[in-house]
Symmetry: C2
Subunit: 208 residues, 2 copies
Amino acid sequence: MAKKQLTQSALERLPRYYQYVRDLREKSGSESVSSAALASFVGVDDTQVRKDLALIGVKGCPRVGYKSALVQKTICRVLGFDQPYRAIIVGIGQLGGALANYGAFALYGLQIAALFDNDPRQIGRTISGYAVRSSAEIAGFVAKTGVRLAIVTVPRRAAQEVAAMLVECGIDAIWNFSHTRLEVPAHVAVRNENLGVGLAELSYHLHR
Amino acid sequence: MAKKQLTQSALERLPRYYQYVRDLREKSGSESVSSAALASFVGVDDTQVRKDLALIGVKGCPRVGYKSALVQKTICRVLGFDQPYRAIIVGIGQLGGALANYGAFALYGLQIAALFDNDPRQIGRTISGYAVRSSAEIAGFVAKTGVRLAIVTVPRRAAQEVAAMLVECGIDAIWNFSHTRLEVPAHVAVRNENLGVGLAELSYHLHR
DNA sequence: TAGATTGTTAATCGATTAACAATC
DNA sequence: TAGATTGTTAATCGATTAACAATC
């Protein structure tokens, strides 16, 4: 689909460009954007921006800049934000509940398909319009709907077991918010969202 | 305090080593850990681990490995997790509420000091033992308690204004969960927690 | 001792930045 | 045209990896 494999670092910059261009168009309706403006927002060199945009096939106009609508649309397409995809959330504690309610996911093409928990006190609750279902139903739900992404917000000690079960069910992408690293087969994409990393940076700054 | 300035990438690896060693000691009580074991967990080269540990002054024993208690304690100290620090949370929506309840922060030395919101319907609510206060009280609270870190979970359009006010109050570290980049003076540390970056990676994988 | 692991220097790799020509 | 901005090659920089000696 994409012309070239994007590097990890490019993959981290693109959503930031996307955010900037989206905001820019909403606020000022500006039709073009320069690599220098994008660079200063994201905090990289302007050459970097031009390389990234060239990589995804966006051409600019010397003297003018890049068409902002084209930049937005192309990033959207390359990252797959224009082809809505669904996710289940497994583990409806504080964090899982917050994510179920989180409106901003729509900006990135993500829809929540269902919520699961194995605590009987949670099952049957309704959050943001979704009934919480028993984890025992996950396999059937995934088989029926073809959902491929799971957001894992279970406690640390349950995470590995849950991940193994999800992979068994056919899930091939996991967004992991539990505080542990997951072992999964190579074909499954895992993104670990470790809040400790963010805290390390801030704590180090505060105590220096 | 620290012997050398840590690079950004080292600062991202250290909390992962910390997590592994903490888990290891809890589960197996193992007294030593090899650079190879740490490397395979975090997904880096073992030479990298030895360099990182040398950088923070941890010495190992050839043939044996590193003392796990020492590794844990030293990382803890270098990152400042052993000197508890407090944060206020500004913006008590879904996400702010979830963070207020989030138990895992204690593992990283973080304590929540107070919650603030400017919605009259939120003010006075009690979450996780904390009463939600009016944002108008932030300046006084910061001056009185000396809190330096603020967790910002307000909507995007309010974020820049809130950040400016916090800096004015003396806050010098911001953990930003709003979907926008903040402009702050150079002495203020900002960590942007952009969920879009995580979604970009997963979405790209799913649509490839 | 023998062998496993650390510690450190050198080599490699990739990402970032600089320079400058091409272009509208 | 003149001038601003893109596009691209070359140079630099830093991080990662390889190699191997030191050590208990």
